[in-house]
Assembly symmetry: C2
Homo-oligomer: 318 residues x 2
Amino acid sequence: MTSTPALPNFDDVKQAQARIAPLVHVTPIHSSAQLSALAGCELFFKCENLQKTGAFKARGACNAIFSLARQQLRNGVITHSSGNHAMALSYAAAQCRTKATVIMPSDSLKSKKDSVKSYGGELIECTPTLDARESTMQAIQAKTKATFVHPYNDPLVIAGQATCAAEFHEQVPELDILVTPVGGGGITSGSCISTMALSPDTRIIAAEPKAADDAYQSFQAGKLIELPSPTTVADGLKTNLGSLTWPCIRDNVSDIVTVEEQEIVNATRLIWQRLKMVVEPSSAVVLAAVLKYPEAFKNQRVGLILTGGNVDIDQLPW
Amino acid sequence: MTSTPALPNFDDVKQAQARIAPLVHVTPIHSSAQLSALAGCELFFKCENLQKTGAFKARGACNAIFSLARQQLRNGVITHSSGNHAMALSYAAAQCRTKATVIMPSDSLKSKKDSVKSYGGELIECTPTLDARESTMQAIQAKTKATFVHPYNDPLVIAGQATCAAEFHEQVPELDILVTPVGGGGITSGSCISTMALSPDTRIIAAEPKAADDAYQSFQAGKLIELPSPTTVADGLKTNLGSLTWPCIRDNVSDIVTVEEQEIVNATRLIWQRLKMVVEPSSAVVLAAVLKYPEAFKNQRVGLILTGGNVDIDQLPW
């Protein structure tokens, strides 16, 4: 065991921005007059579904891999992920000409498995629990000495994800509220770091599926609570907060709100129909939260981070 | 009967640009490294699915309605359309505070019918033939004296649609080829006018569903050929060329190519999966054409106009 590394600061985020700029897109902001009218506030969507590999995870994976020493790169990288981090690591490794091994739960979307392989990553499936993911990975890592890139509880990954909110505040100044989806907490803690530095008056509200509400429960209890194997249509948000992300979120978000499965599906449909964007259900959790608690957002300038667009279009959740 | 009006020139297009600027979006250009690699050329997609009302038709409808005299506006406007022009006219009429009556074939997508009503248009259904559309409309128009805004065979509509290619050439200079979808010919003839003025070296290739290939047949025969009631998954491209659009297309496009129904569906899926964009099958005809005839596009800078994003997400064509 190594000691817990420190949370990145905004200097780390600026370094990440410079490091990953050639590798990722500055994603656009989209809006819909009809969606804003429906929500009763001004909505700005940060389209990470249009990011490389179709999700914000490309930011953190690129920052982590392009920070590795040459010796580490020789042994490759390894991770476990329900999908988007796996694809992001495969992409980042290919850009860096190193090898990525990814452990994915067997119930991951076929489209995400295919995509990992298409980016050149080696895919290894395991039973869909956090324990199985970690034990499978450790067994392989013992042999290959590959560097583990955690999907969220890693300072370089968090600094990479933080570049999303940093961009967002430059593109849309003076947001009253930034709504982030919360799974493992990488994008939420990163959003906290960038928002404190660039737009300290913006409040951060994290949105989470009720069916995987470890962050909500932790926030209410004031201590880290883990859930064993939650299931939600927002498959990117099943993971538990980590030792790095939890204290940052505890100390910096204004609130954590939860939404039901059907609310997530309804919000996904709305984004497809109104924004004309293909987004995964994890992306829609933020809109579902705004529509569920209109009083909290009324007449505000509200930024929403869309996590990604990697859905199996043959297996839509409606 | 009035005499056939003249085709607009590029001055008309510039006037249209100024007239409709407050009413429509400058739509973004999206690309995908994976799609470009697949096609063997550099692809630039003009995202009219992100246009107001979800289709390029908002341009022409706004230009037509905002050009009407006050007396004409008192009697409202009327049209027949399989969908996107109907929605566009309803939107434009609402912006101008006049009434739109729209005749739609009964087999139009439910989402498009709902959308016409949501914009405040009065929807009247008819049997799905061009004859029925025209006779139903004439009967109503005789009573209301509403001004008919043709979906494509109208100089103001063509000038409005021409603003799309005008924008495109400013956003992406030096396209080698511009691929336009062809139905009634409004977007294609408009693209010819703007391209001749702004980027005369760009060749225009029109793409059409084989199942509704009146433009292809006309181009091959050198005379206007009409098809009675074609059926295609690209429901926006069923219409026949008109007396204004046909000669412009005949004289200015480099080629017209056709694609099969399954090729359109496959290309639609690719755009959803790779561009993360919700587009209607009519939008995908242009990509289907590029993928079908790779030699014609090899290593070129290719612009593609995506017509719109109005699909019924409960009735996907796969």
